[in-house]
Symmetry: C2
Subunit: 463 residues, 2 copies
């Protein structure tokens, strides 16, 4: 047994720290091979987290913090020399305060578990994303998760009122604020939100929750040009005001690719240029539907919308959402590359056209599927080079990145909108952030984690 | 001419840096005596700000950054050994992007100027507070201003997408993000929002703007107990969903004090226990009023509300708001102390009763007037001791603070909800923040401002 393992077991017990074949788990959601690591620590208390980090810090031993392992940028995958610190056992929903609109949870609580506990009390925790069944609230906060409700409720950052974190040296920092307003000096929780575990380990969180909306109105809409898309967005934001909760755009090629035979069924013509899944959530059962329908009608009259499907039941609504959420049909054959970028809305149309042109110039048969939460400035796209020159997947990925991020830099876009940087996007970070910014980030990292033990190498690379 | 003054004039010119009697201005909005300071620098560009700070940093010379001088915690008032850095000339509204919902402004733009420029384009910059005509957007962001629309749009922090700041050593840090979603590594702007100018000088800002709402519905409501207040709040948040924009509560004593003869006119009985100014802003002219009225009707039936006044015109609506905003009638005689705290809503009723009891135990004739943005956890109150023992105002203030903050600590409240810490609340910071938190704040300050030149002494005191 290695020295560090011995020290950890001594400090927190053999039921908390295991190693070797006992660590019977996959590397990540995306990689089924057994994880490698010196040991796996599964503390039950903040005190245990503190002890584990203090020991690792003293020995300069790297630690990788794990939540639900659905990270999209290879951040959570353990390296063989690392100690895995999994928050999975710190999964208690400590309290739900309906009057104050807050919930207190352990970092290891599964997102869907919190969502359901809130719904049982007629409340809503609005953070929502595809990985809801496996990702943890701690991971959501550490990566500042986005998802499908950002337009109305903001990113994870906006939903966090307070948190408790353990710093690299084991210091427990409790900033468990519960109020919407608190200007009592520096808002330290911001150091741990979205820094991908590199500045501390989040152990407990106070989040905002909201009354569960009582009305939902949805429609799948077809439009012919991007100008109409932005017009509709502006109209929806104005007329539906605080109730607009989703405005998801699929470019025509994407829509057609996910509605092929055997995939999702298309409820309308597949020949339009843009498809939008629009939804409102409100509290006024008498009037919300009328307001929603009147917006659609006037946009029809003005020819902003050219076709629409209004679901007549909950199952029809879910089927429409499936078109947006289920893109299995385009994931094969490999290699295919998934992107997550953001850029100003006014630049989007040009950007997509330019990238598409460059991709086709490079690879004649390249497939390019675009969709996005455009109100947030966020586009996702899939690129399948269909390369004939027999390049490796890595090489193709790099070539593809170069086009996508090169053009993005010209419009002041972000190389990561919601997935974070992790290991995958480190090389491209400088396309979105200046030298001065990266220098300051490294200074913060060296100051708060002097021995560079926390998620070493992620986000910033060498310090 | 002192050495530092000479260096500054050489670097940026005598039209930018003035001193002595040329600095013809008051100390602050609250203090009409002429300001003291070594010099007043009024740069027009970020480059000039950078030069000024680089020189001051090299010489370890303290700098106080000034915006509109309406700071409530004595933060912006210059000390005689300081250089004043006023952003007043960096007051350009650079652009307003309606499609993207963003505006780019210099830090010295007056809040009301930005509000009006947005309204001209049918857009809304929702940050709003009493000092709108004098405070600057840079000051709002540096202090994370709150105000009357936080319930719906959040604090200043939530409205900032990106910013440019100059660090103590003159480094220009440009983080001018324009997107709602950007997880491209650390969100550095958080270091400068709400840190009251102690970590850098904000020079430019990208803010979020929204479509201007087309409907407004308002009512002044009377309630008899605090339980009804929280019930109404929960109902309003549920039924009015994203449209609820204000929920301002006045305790009965406050209401009566601001509606005496010669002050605001009371449109209803002055004998109720709680008065609430409630308002929604929406985009559905056909249906918003019906939704608002139906909530009020059902709350009447359930006896949550016992009296109500619905304004029949814009001037009547403004007159109702005046009752909430105009508290001139209670400001004399001095001394009277204004508080700004936050605490969990479920603790409020008990907290107010306990503080009132303690105040009256100490000073038999003590006056105590309470109001608040309670949905944000934020209460303001006025305390006039009416002390018979002839103590100094300072001593009375301290005694009053001790009661207010002592009880606050027991319910995990915040000694500053929106005003910040500045000079005034430094001694009480430890009532809201732990030793570990304050230690980390000081570490950040020492790391980012190694010579402690920026707003020295504010917020954290000795480092």
């Amino acid at each position: 047994m290695s020295k560090i393992l011995e020290l950890l077991v001594d400090a927190v017990g053999a039921n908390v720290v295991i190693s070797g074949d006992e660590m019977d788990r996959a590397t990540s959601y995306w990689d089924a091979t057994p994880t490698q690591a010196v040991a796996l620590a599964r503390p039950k208390t903040t005190e245990q987290v503190s002890k584990i980090l203090a020991i690792c810090n003293e020995h300069g031993h790297p630690v990788i913090t794990q939540g639900g392992l659905t990270n999209c940028v290879h951040s959570a995958e353990a390296q063989k020399e690392e100690i895995i610190l999994s928050l999975e056992r710190m999964n208690e929903i400590e309290s739900i305060d309906i009057t104050g609109g807050t919930a207190t949870v352990g970092a290891g609580v599964i997102l869907q578990t919190l969502q359901e506990a809130c719904l049982e009390q007629d409340m809503l925790f609005p953070l929502d994303l595809g990985a809801r069944g496996s990702c943890t609230v701690g991971g959501n906060v550490a990566t500042n998760a986005g998802g499908i409700n950002v337009l109305r409720y903001g990113m994870a950052r906006q939903l966090v009122l307070g948190l408790e974190a353990v710093m690299a040296d084991g210091t427990v920092l409790s900033s468990m604020n519960q109020m919407l307003k608190n200007n009592s000096a520096y808002d330290l929780k911001q150091l741990f939100i979205g820094t991908e575990g590199t500045l501390g380990v989040i152990t407990r969180i106070n989040v905002r929750i909201f009354p569960k909306p009582t009305t939902t109105n949805a429609a799948m809409l077809a439009l012919q040009d991007f100008d109409s898309v932005t017009k509709l967005l502006n109209r929806a934001q104005r007329d539906l005001a605080g109730n607009l909760s989703a405005f998801e755009v699929m470019w025509g090629d994407h829509y057609r690719a996910v509605t092929v035979e055997g995939a999702n069924r298309s409820p309308m013509s597949r020949d339009y240029n843009y498809y939008i899944m629009m939804e409102t959530e409100g509290g006024d059962t008498a009037n919300d539907e009328a307001g929603f329908m009147s917006l659609l009608e006037s946009c029809f009259e003005e020819e902003i919308i050219i076709d629409a499907v209004i679901p007549k039941s909950e199952s029809e609504r879910i089927a429409l959402w499936d078109i947006r959420e289920n893109f299995e049909a385009i994931l094969e054959p490999k290699p295919i590359f998934l992107y997550d970028v953001s850029l100003p809305i006014i630049e989007m149309d040009n950007y997509i056209n330019t990238v598409e042109q460059q991709l086709k110039d490079k690879w004649t048969d390249c497939e390019f599927y675009v969709l996005g939460h455009i109100a947030d400035g966020n586009l996702h796209f899939f690129i399948r080079p269909n390369d004939k020159a027999d390049k490796t997947a890595e090489q193709l990925h790099y070539d593809s990145d170069e086009i996508v991020y090169g053009e993005l830099q010209k419009v002041n876009g972000a190389v990561s909108a919601e997935h974070g940087i992790g290991m995958e996007k480190r090389a491209w970070l400088k396309y979105s952030r200046s030298e001065e910014e990266i220098k300051l980030m490294k200074l913060l990292k060296r100051t708060l984690d002097t021995n560079n033990i926390l998620n070493r190498g992620r986000v910033l690379g060498d310090l």
